[in-house]
């Protein structure tokens, strides 16, 4: 593998070549985990100059393997634990055309810089004139200077000023959203990185590569989920969330919202806003949309969206009913460079603090209210610029709750990361167990089941129901011995802790290879197809068992990194709201989570991982995975 090592302090660069890493860590989160684990001091402050940023393209990015264009950015997060975040667009191709697999950025520049990278090396350019500019202005300026085809990642004011959930924006609309990598980039005085290489991406076995590429495409295009994924994108689940009562409404106090479908539903969005579809590089699905606001105060606004995350965060968690105003909130976040999930969560937490009289109007300067675009948009602006109340809000809920005694119950974060999109009380399943086991904190994007379906809401803490067609069942690419553990026979249900372990490893592989996790991909591609594509590209002979073992090692390394940072098993829990309060939804009220049953599922997961009940990996686990040698 070829890793470009950039020393910001000395404006110097070099290349590390190590092919032995490739069949073990592949790329993306796999390679980043190894580099973080091996080279980042766990005793430092996340904003210390010694923190590193690693950016790796997925192993198959930049090729014709469908839907495998993504890249990962990793560092010690301002949450205090693993910081890692994924993004699509055309960046994976842009990195690979510089004839590198990854970047390792170390040190701190003496003044604001941006980097121009191509296949020949790195230019360190002065960024004084764009420091203080928003992301759109920055990308405009750098594309004008470095060429319109340059791939630009950059931070906005939020990253510059150290908002702890600042994003790194990929182009104008894609984001490395979660875990505050933008704040770390800002702490290094690094405003942007431009990729403009003209290198060549090569393949060992061209015939085999073409064959596996066609086979993967055929599977993706055969999925029952393809049609609706292109038509609605992630918005496909918007109506279902309301019907099932799992919206994160008003800081997780209402699972359903009146007139949701009529104002924020998928068909309403399609009819009134959606203009056309577009895609990340190499993706035949095209789940992304371009939208136009046709009437009202913001008529004429055209932008990327709507993603369901935007509507669940600003539409449900904060209660904004007008899609055009939701789009404005997202554009503000994109321009300032802030994660939409954490931003919406922090504002929802503040509004509840205000409603409970724990924060006064005089502390803020105005009344913050749910459903009120004016106060919410003002708060976004204040956070991004770290002005007024924004200074406290920029710390994130994990830090804020220490100042507001008595607010812990409704401080909706896990391991310092704000909880997104879905109320855990609707159904306990792989997704929800994933919130507490995720190595980057409260998040829904690192543990998934390939057979996810929200059609039955019977609550069972051990099994979730299985609802996929016979055709999709035959397309599933899960090793038989894994299937035997996860499903009953014949398959009717899913063992949640087993699926959580497998789903976590599967997503490590998806990420390391560059794949997206949209349903047509997640349901049809697995370790067998991944190994064939990787072998054809790089000339290895890895099988699915080896891939899963490597993924297991990578998960353990992330976990050990967190343990070294002081994480304990106590952090593997939901905020008290979810254990104490009923949740209202259109079907009535659902009871809180059963603490003992959640714990039982968690302990079962620890056991499957080879960890003790305190989440500490056993000696034999470390030895089996060879981690004892790396430590």
């Amino acid at each position: 593998m070829r890793i470009l090592l950039i020393d910001l302090e000395n404006k110097d660069f070099s290349y590390i070549e190590d092919e032995a890493l490739r069949p073990l860590y592949f790329g993306g989160i796999g390679l980043n985990t190894y580099l973080l684990f091996k080279y980042t001091d766990t005793k430092i402050d996340p904003m210390d100059r010694e923190n590193n940023i690693f950016i790796s393209s997925g192993a198959l990015a930049g090729t014709i393997i469908p839907s495998a264009s993504r890249s990962e950015m990793t560092c010690l997060s301002p949450t205090g634990y693993l910081g890692t975040t994924n993004s699509g667009g055309s960046l994976g191709l842009g990195i690979r055309l510089c004839n590198i697999d990854a970047l390792w950025i170390k040190g701190r520049a003496k003044h604001p810089l941006y980097l121009k990278i191509d296949e020949k090396g790195v230019l360190f350019r002065d960024a004084t004139n764009i420091w203080g500019k928003d992301v759109f202005e920055t990308v405009d300026t750098l594309k004008k200077k470095e060429g319109k085809d340059a791939e630009v990642i950059s931070i906005g004011m939020a990253g510059e000023k150290g908002v702890r959930y600042a994003s790194v924006q990929n182009g104008y609309y894609h984001s490395f959203g979660r875990t505050g990598t933008g704040a770390v980039m800002g702490s290094k005085f690094l405003k942007a990185v431009c990729f403009k290489g003209n290198g060549e991406i090569t393949v060992k076995d061209k015939k085999g590569f073409l064959e596996i590429s066609r086979a993967i495409r055929e599977r993706i295009m055969s999925s029952d989920s393809l049609g609706y994924t292109r038509r609605y994108g992630s918005m496909v689940v918007s109506d279902v969330y309301n019907q099932m009562g799992i919206l994160p409404g008003y800081n997780f106090t209402k699972g359903s919202i009146e007139k949701w479908e009529e104002t924020r539903g998928r068909r309403f969005f399609e009819k009134n806003f959606k203009e056309r579809d577009f895609a990340c590089v190499s993706c035949p699905i095209g789940c992304l949309h371009w939208s136009r606001v046709k009437e009202g105060d913001y008529a004429g606004l055209e932008t990327h969206g709507l993603e369901v995350t935007y509507v669940l965060e600003f539409g449900a968690k904060l209660g904004i009913s007008d899609i055009s105003k939701i789009l404005i909130c997202v554009e503000l976040c994109n321009r300032l460079g802030m994660d939409v999930i954490s931003t919406a969560s922090v504002i929802a937490y503040l509004i509840e603090l205000f409603e409970k009289d724990m924060v006064k109007e005089s502390d803020i300067g105005f009344k913050p209210m749910f459903s009120d675009f004016e106060s919410i948009s003002r708060l976004i602006f204040l956070i991004g610029n770290k002005e007024g109340i924004g200074r406290i809000l920029s710390e994130g809920i994990g830090s804020m709750k220490k100042y507001f005694t008595g607010s812990e119950d409704f401080a909706c974060e896990i391991k310092g990361l704000e909880i997104p999109v879905r109320d855990p009380r609707g159904r306990f399943d792989t997704w929800i167990l994933g919130y507490i086991i995720n190595t980057r904190g409260g998040d829904h994007l690192k543990i998934r089941t390939p057979v996810d379906a929200l059609l039955d809401f019977k609550i069972d803490y051990e099994y979730e129901p299985l609802f996929i067609s016979e055709k999709e069942m035959t397309l599933l690419d899960i090793p038989q011995k894994v299937k035997d553990k996860i499903f009953d026979n014949p398959p009717t249900k899913i063992h949640i802790p087993h699926m959580a372990k497998y789903g976590e490893e599967l997503l490590v592989l998806f990420n390391a290879f560059g794949f997206c996790i949209r349903p047509p991909v997640l349901r049809t591609i697995g370790p067998s197809m991944l190994s064939k594509a990787f072998n054809a590209m790089y000339g290895y002979d890895l099988n699915e068992d080896v891939l899963l073992e490597h993924a297991e090692r990578i998960v353990n390394m992330q976990h050990i990194f967190n343990l070294k940072r002081g994480l304990t098993a106590k952090a593997y829990t939901f905020p008290e709201r979810f254990y104490k309060e009923y949740i209202e939804y259109r079907g009535g009220k659902r009871p809180p989570l059963d603490r003992m049953k959640v714990k039982k599922a968690l302990i079962e997961y620890f056991k499957l991982r080879g960890w003790d009940s305190k989440a500490k990996p056993k000696k034999e686990t470390l030895h089996r995975l060879g981690i004892d040698k790396i430590i």
């Binding site: 003209n198 393949v203 577009f278 895609a279 590089v281 993706c283 035949p284 699905i285 371009w290």
Partner: protein, 82 residues
């Protein structure tokens, strides 16, 4: 899809996935590099509008047409041959 004599471009349908560009480069140069592709894409990353253009040297191999999942590329019907 029946092979024709001329490739039809419909830019309104282009989703910007570059599968045509990457396929052309792979089939004709054996590597992935947009500069080595005969079909070019002009991308406006801000408005997300895309324009495809087939440049000199196209051997009509059809790799780009096969790669397109959005009906932005196809064979002209009137020139279809068996």
């Amino acid at each position: 899809m029946k092979r024709g004599k001329k490739i039809r471009i419909n830019n309104d349908n282009c989703a910007g996935c570059m599968l045509c560009v990457l396929s052309c480069s792979f089939f004709n140069a054996g590597v992935f590099n947009p500069e080595k592709s005969i079909i070019k894409i002009n991308k406006n990353d801000k408005t997300l509008k895309f324009t495809l253009k087939i440049t000199v040297g196209c051997k009509m191999c059809g790799a780009c047409v096969e790669a397109c999942a959005y009906n932005a590329l196809g064979w002209e019907d009137e020139n279809t041959v068996n």
